[in-house]
Amino acid sequence: MENMYLPYRMYIEKITEEAPLVRTYRLKFKDPADEEKFSFKAGQFGEYSIFGEGESTFCIASSPTRKGYIECTFRVAGRVTKALANCEEGDEIGFRGPYGNTFPIDDWKGKNLLFIAGGIGLPPLRCVIWNCLDLRENYRDVTILYGARSVQDLVYKHELEEWNNRPDVNLFTTVDPGGETPDWKGKVGFVPTILKEISPSSENTIAAVCGPPIMIKLTLPVLFELGFKEENIFTTLENRMKCGIGKCGHCAVGPYYVCKDGPVITYKELKELPQEY
């Protein structure tokens, strides 16, 4: 039997400073045999660790269509993320995963896709966005609405530019009032307000939403107003987590474990759960 707590040993190939206290690490496997057997799907997450400090849970922020590496984006918040932030390119990181369920992107074929993200909520969607863009012919309109507190808090700035330049992607970026800079060309306003303004059609459309709880709470009524059905609205949950495999109990919401039954969930399923997330 396998010791599921033993991580893959990986190294940091590339560090990108995204925003204040927010970094992206590109990780590669130290052992080619590990790389060979590893695969994941959009929406899954893992446990990233520094030996001697502990483990932290983040989604896999890169797309499964980009082989040979995984990426994670994190904000420095506690002991482990602080230790992670002290790493340099070439340093070793432990990784366990992939864990959890996935976005059902095969079922989304032939549909319009609407991605709505706030702040550090873009990394979990970035994975599925790139996955769908790399299989672009499978989907119809792709619309991305991304908001952050201020211009400097926007993550993946270079990729936002890339999406903005693509004729097959409708990108709307916005910052909270007061968060704009003199040369800011995007919108100013909260995500739900901008969503109302751009009013995307709900016809044959899947919405995937990820961001702070307050953003999700205020965005949902707008989506319902636009005619989105509960089963066509997806989000990805997060809860404090330790094991990632349904044993430690931390992430449990009633009988539902975010780590193995989630993290991807439709609003229809979410509203059946006790409000403990």
Partner: protein
Amino acid sequence: MEYKLIKLEKIQDFINALIASGKQVLAPKQKKEKVFFSLVGSFDEIAMDYIQTAFSAKSAVFPKCEELYTFEKNGKDTILHNPPAPENDTIVFGMRPCDGAAFDYLTTFFLKENPDYHFKMRYDKTIFVGLTCSSGDEFCFCTSVGISPSDTRGSDLMLTKTENGYYMEIITEKGKKLVEQFSNFFEQTEQIDKTKYTANIQKRFDSSALKEKISGAFNWERWEETSLPCFGCGTCAFSCPTCTCFDIQDEANLVGGARYRIWDTCALGIFTKHASGHNPREKQSERWRNRILHKFLYTDEQFGTLSCVGCGRCIRNCPAELSIIEQVNAIMEG
């Protein structure tokens, strides 16, 4: 099933022979006013007449703190090592049927989906010798959750004290092997009616009636009132035979260290607290509710079984004198 008899004067020789053979014997041992499962060096150390140990036998297989793995640092590389498997068998001796039933749940929980390496390596080397209850106290309520004082679930061998000695039921292959290895201590015997020798534990609530009531209990308005004395110390969970939650923590120096898992509990506020400061279970009453619903509703939905075995430890040990029996009855009243 096969049945054996150990004469009263032979039980001591049997235990001492187990120890002499190199097996570790974990048995109830009196320490001041309480009884704890402890490793014993001879039969004389064992408390044979006790009602309930302060902590359950689960730590034989799921210890309070254990290594998930160790690591050695070697420049920019780290070498990982699995924890060593136990070399010798452990005999859990004198375990009550409620703790046995708890192992029935624990094996489902740990081994069914994503089988747990650490649990399995200990479980495979552990033999459970149960002891039926000749008496109970006002905190015992196994019969309310579908278990009896003579239940054989989760035990490999089950002993019942009779006027002739200890009547033994051979329940599993593991138990049978042990009996064959030490056959000179046992005599052949017929099946007997154990109820003549076991305690009559009063039913404190009806679990099937509870099942109907508890499915809608999340929004019950009395959670706050009934949990008011709880100050979140977690004693209930740490002494519970079916609580399985744990934390993962590292300890290391410059050359290496280990990643450990340590018992944790949903009674503590930090258990669910996010790095952002957001806490899905902010109030103590919400944590208490989670504990009760987990035992009587959530595991029933997940595994088709309650995760309370009626051992009564959480009531005996609670410094705030909260009672899970009273709590359940309050839910039944509505």
